[in-house]
C-alpha cells in the first residue's frame, strides 16, 4: 500500500551553507543520506588557461581569485614557483615578510572557516567574533599592499615595497590580543555540549582513506598524520621558524576544529618570530625586465591554509608566458572525500562536514 522511495534533493548551488556555489546531489531516505555527489564548476573561469596567456608577472593577479579567502598564500605559491623556475634568490628580509603575511593569511582563512563552520552548526555569535579579528588581519593586508581581499601581495623576486611605517605597531597590537580572542572562541565552543554532540564522531575520515584520497592540510593532520609542507619541504623562511604541527588521532569534525585552533596559535607564534627576527636589507632581488623561460618545469608545493597548494609550471624556450600551468588545489581534492564522509549520516551532518572541509569554490572550480 505504501511504497518507500528515496527523495532526491539538490543542496545548492543556492543554499545558505554550501559555501558559495557548491551543489550536492543528495538521495535521502528520511533524513539519512544514501548517496551524495558533489557537482562543481559553477565558478569556473579557466584561471589555468588564462595564466598561460599572461606573462609570469601578470599571472599572480589571477591567483588572488582562486582561493579568495587566502589570497596571500596563493600569491606566495605563484611567486615562489616562478622564482624556482627561473632560479631567482629572494632576499632574506623579503622571505621573512612573506612568511609573516602568509601566516596572517592563515589566521584570516582559519577565522573565516571558524566563523562559517560555527554559523552552519547554529552558533551565530562566534561568526561575528571571528569576523572582528579577521577585520584586523585584513587591515594589516590593507596597510601592506592596499588591498584587503585580492592582495597580489608579492612580486617575483621579493616584494614591491618594504613594510609601511607603523605596520609593526599594528601587528604587535594584534599579536598582543589575539591569543585571548582564540580563548574567547573556545569558551563558546570547545566544551559546549551541543557543539561536541554535533561534531564528535561526525564526518570521520581515517588516515588511510585520507591518504588514498590525496587529502591534505588540517583534515589530514586531524587524522593523525603530521604532514605539513612547511616542515616537510620548507619554503619561504619556514626552515628558520620554530613551530609545532598539531595533530589529533580522532579524525572527526571536532578533531579538525581543535587542530585548526591550535594551528592559529602556532601561526601566532611564527608571526612573533618573524617580527622579532626581521632582518635588515633589501626586499627585492635584481631581475631582468622581461622573464623569458627555458624549457623547464617545476612543481612547487606550499602549505596553504586548506592544505597542499601545488603550482605546476612548464616553461617554453623564449616565451614570457608559462607553457602549461596547473594548480593542485587543496579544496578540490579534499572535496573528493565528502561523499565518503557523509553517506549514511544525517542531513545536518552534511552541513557540518562541508564546513569542516573548509571548501572555497573559487579554488575548486578555478
Amino acid at each position: 500500500m505504501f511504497k518507500n522511495e528515496e527523495m532526491e534533493i539538490n543542496m545548492g548551488p543556492q543554499h545558505p551553507s554550501t559555501h558559495g556555489v557548491l551543489r550536492l546531489k543528495l538521495k535521502l531516505d528520511g533524513e539519512i543520506i544514501r548517496h551524495c555527489r558533489p557537482v562543481i564548476g559553477y565558478l569556473h573561469r579557466g584561471v589555468e588557461k588564462i595564466c598561460e596567456n599572461k606573462t609570469f608577472f601578470q599571472g599572480q593577479v589571477w591567483t588572488d581569485r582562486m582561493d579568495y579567502c587566502s589570497a596571500v598564500a596563493n600569491n606566495l605559491g605563484w611567486a615562489e614557483a616562478v622564482e624556482k623556475l627561473f632560479g631567482i634568490t629572494v632576499p632574506r628580509r623579503a622571505k621573512y615578510i612573506r612568511t609573516m603575511l602568509n601566516e596572517y593569511n592563515r589566521l584570516a582563512s582559519h577565522l573565516i572557516w571558524l566563523a562559517t563552520h560555527a554559523l552552519d552548526i547554529g552558533a551565530m555569535t562566534v561568526f561575528l567574533y571571528a569576523f572582528r579579528e579577521r577585520e584586523a588581519v585584513l587591515d594589516l593586508f590593507e596597510a601592506f599592499c592596499g588591498a584587503r581581499l585580492t592582495t597580489t601581495a608579492f612580486r617575483i623576486g621579493g616584494l614591491r615595497e618594504d613594510l609601511p611605517p607603523g605596520f609593526e605597531k599594528m601587528a604587535r597590537t594584534f599579536q598582543a590580543r589575539f591569543l585571548a580572542c582564540i580563548d574567547e572562541y573556545e569558551t563558546l565552543l570547545t566544551e559546549n555540549r551541543i557543539w561536541k554532540k554535533r561534531t564528535i564522531g561526525v564526518g570521520i575520515l581515517k588516515a588511510d582513506d585520507a591518504i588514498a584520497m590525496g587529502v591534505t592540510g588540517p583534515v589530514l593532520r586531524a587524522a593523525g598524520v603530521p604532514y605539513d609542507i612547511r616542515k616537510a619541504f620548507p619554503y619561504a623562511a619556514y626552515d628558520e621558524m620554530e613551530f609545532a604541527i598539531p595533530t589529533k588521532p580522532e579524525a572527526d569534525t571536532y578533531a579538525r576544529y581543535l587542530v585548526r585552533l591550535e594551528e592559529m596559535r602556532q601561526s601566532h607564534r611564527i608571526i612573533n618570530q618573524c617580527l622579532d627576527g626581521l632582518p635588515e636589507g633589501p626586499v627585492m632581488a635584481k631581475l631582468p625586465k622581461i622573464l623569458r623561460a627555458e624549457v623547464n618545469e617545476v612543481y612547487h608545493p606550499t602549505e596553504c591554509p586548506k592544505g597542499e597548494l601545488g603550482y605546476y609550471l612548464v616553461g617554453e624556450k623564449g616565451s614570457t608566458n608559462p607553457y602549461r600551468f596547473h594548480v593542485r588545489a587543496p579544496g578540490f581534492i579534499n572535496l573528493q572525500a565528502l561523499p565518503m564522509m557523509v553517506e549514511g549520516t544525517l542531513v545536518a551532518d552534511v552541513i557540518a562536514t562541508i564546513g569542516t572541509l573548509d571548501v572555497v569554490l573559487g579554488e575548486i572550480d578555478r
Binding site: 551553507s17 552548526i121 554535533r198 544525517l346 542531513v347
Partner: protein
C-alpha cells in the same frame, strides 16, 4: 463573573480582547526589535540603528534624530526603534507569491492557523489575579465592573491553553505540505515529529503545578503555586520550570531546537516558499508563542504577579512592595524570559534532529514522570 447580563459579558469580553490584542501587537514587534538589538550587543555590534532612506524625507529626519539620540548613554540602546514599524510595512507591501504547484487553499490557510492558535491562547492567560481597575459607574453597560485583563477566567484554563496551542503545529505541517517543495517538506516532517514529541514533556511538566494546586484555572493555579506551596514542593517547581522552559524552546522553534526552520540546513524550513505577509504571520506567530510560553512559565513556576518564584513568596508575605502582588512583576518576568530566548540564541549552537528527539524522550520525559509522581505524593501527604 458573578451576576452579569449577557450584554455586559459580551462587551467586557470584547473590551478585554481588544486590550490583549493591543498588548500583543505592541510587545511582539518590540520583541523582534529587541531580538536585533540584544543579539547585536551580544555579538559586539550595534544591531539596527537606522531605517531605509537614510537622508531624505520623514525617514531622514527620523534617522538624524536617532543619530543624535545615539550619543546619549541610555538612548543608544533604543536607537533604531522605528525599524520595527518599517519591518511591518515591508512585510505588508511585499509581493506575495504562491507557487504554481502549491495547494493554494491550504497554503493560504496554514499561516492563519498558526497565528490564530497562538493568539487565542491569550484568552485564558491572566496577568493579575483580580481587577487591574474598575470601570467608573458612569460608563454605559460596563459601569462598575472590574477589568481583569483576562478575557475568560475559565475553570479549565490550562486545558484550553494546551489544546489550542497544539493546533499551531498544523499550521506548520500543512504549510510545509502545501508548498509542494522538498525543503519545506523536510522542515514540516521535522516539526511534526519534534513538536509532537515535546508536547509530552511540556504537558507533563505543566501537570506538576496542576497536581500541586489542584486546579486547572489559570488564576487559581498561579495563586496557589505562588503562595501556598509547602517547602518540599519548591524544588519540584524549580525542576519543572527548567523542563517546561526547555520544552518551550522546542515548541516555539527557537535555537537550539529550531529544526523546522534550521536555516543552514533546510534553507528556511517550512516557510521556504512563503513570502510577504504570509511569512510575516508565521514569523509573528513564533514571537507570540514565545510570549505565551513565557507567560505560562511565569504564571505557573515563577510566581506570576508575586515577585518571588517557585513559591518562595510565602517567606515575604507582608513585606512592603516586594511582598505584594503586582502586574508589573508579571510583565518584567516575561520580559526577562524573552530576553533569555534571545540570549540562548546568541550563545549556543543547534542540536541535530535525532539528538533533539533523544533529549525529549530520554531525559525530559523521565524527569517529568518522576516529578509528577513526587508531586502526587506531596499532594497526597498534604
Amino acid at each position: 463573573m458573578p451576576n452579569m447580563t449577557l450584554s455586559q459579558i459580551c462587551v467586557m469580553a470584547i473590551l478585554q480582547a481588544i486590550a490583549v490584542v493591543i498588548f500583543i501587537f505592541i510587545v511582539v514587534p518590540l520583541t523582534t526589535f529587541a531580538e536585533r538589538k540584544v543579539l547585536g550587543y551580544l555579538q559586539d555590534r550595534l544591531g539596527a540603528t537606522r531605517i531605509a532612506g537614510h537622508h531624505v524625507g520623514i525617514t531622514g529626519t527620523l534617522n538624524r534624530g536617532m543619530w543624535r539620540m545615539g550619543k546619549l548613554p541610555f538612548f543608544s540602546i533604543i536607537r533604531g526603534l522605528p525599524v520595527f514599524v518599517g519591518d511591518i510595512i515591508k512585510l505588508l507591501v511585499k509581493e506575495d507569491i504562491i507557487p504554481d504547484k502549491a495547494d493554494r487553499m491550504i497554503f493560504m490557510v496554514a499561516p492563519c492557523l498558526s497565528m490564530i492558535a497562538s493568539i487565542v491562547v491569550f484568552a485564558a492567560i491572566s496577568f493579575y489575579p483580580g481587577a487591574l481597575f474598575t470601570f467608573p459607574k458612569a460608563f454605559p453597560v460596563v459601569g462598575g465592573l472590574p477589568f481583569t485583563g483576562c478575557i475568560s477566567d475559565m475553570n479549565v484554563g490550562l486545558l484550553f491553553i494546551l489544546g489550542v496551542a497544539s493546533v499551531g503545529v498544523y499550521g506548520i505541517v500543512l504549510g510545509a505540505w502545501a508548498s509542494n517543495s522538498k525543503y519545506p517538506l523536510l522542515g514540516g516532517l521535522r516539526s511534526a515529529a519534534q513538536i509532537v514529541s515535546y508536547e509530552v514533556p511540556l504537558t507533563l511538566s505543566l501537570l506538576v503545578p496542576v497536581v500541586l494546586s489542584g486546579s486547572l484555572n489559570f488564576n487559581e493555579m498561579t495563586l496557589r503555586t505562588a503562595t501556598q506551596m509547602p517547602v518540599y514542593a519548591m524544588p519540584l517547581l524549580f525542576v519543572g520550570f527548567f523542563v517546561y522552559f526547555t520544552c518551550g524552546f522546542a515548541e516555539t522553534n527557537r535555537t537550539p531546537f529550531d529544526m523546522p526552520e534550521a536555516e543552514n540546513e533546510l534553507v528556511a524550513g517550512f516557510h521556504t516558499e512563503y513570502s510577504g505577509m504570509r511569512f510575516g504571520l508565521f514569523y509573528l506567530a513564533e514571537y507570540i508563542n514565545m510570549i505565551v510560553v513565557s507567560a505560562l512559565c511565569v504564571g505557573f513556576f515563577l510566581g506570576g504577579p508575586f515577585l518571588f518564584p517557585f513559591g518562595l513568596h510565602r517567606f515575604f508575605v507582608g513585606v512592603p512592595v516586594i511582598g505584594a502582588p503586582n502586574a508589573l512583576w508579571f510583565v518584567l518576568k516575561i520580559l526577562f524570559l524573552l530576553f533569555t530566548f534571545i540570549w540562548v540564541r546568541g550563545t549556543i549552537p543547534r542540536y541535530r534532529y535525532d539528538q533533539i528527539m533523544a533529549v525529549a524522550w530520554k531525559y525530559l520525559i523521565p524527569i517529568t514522570l518522576v516529578e509528577l509522581a513526587a508531586a502526587a505524593i506531596i499532594r497526597f501527604a498534604a
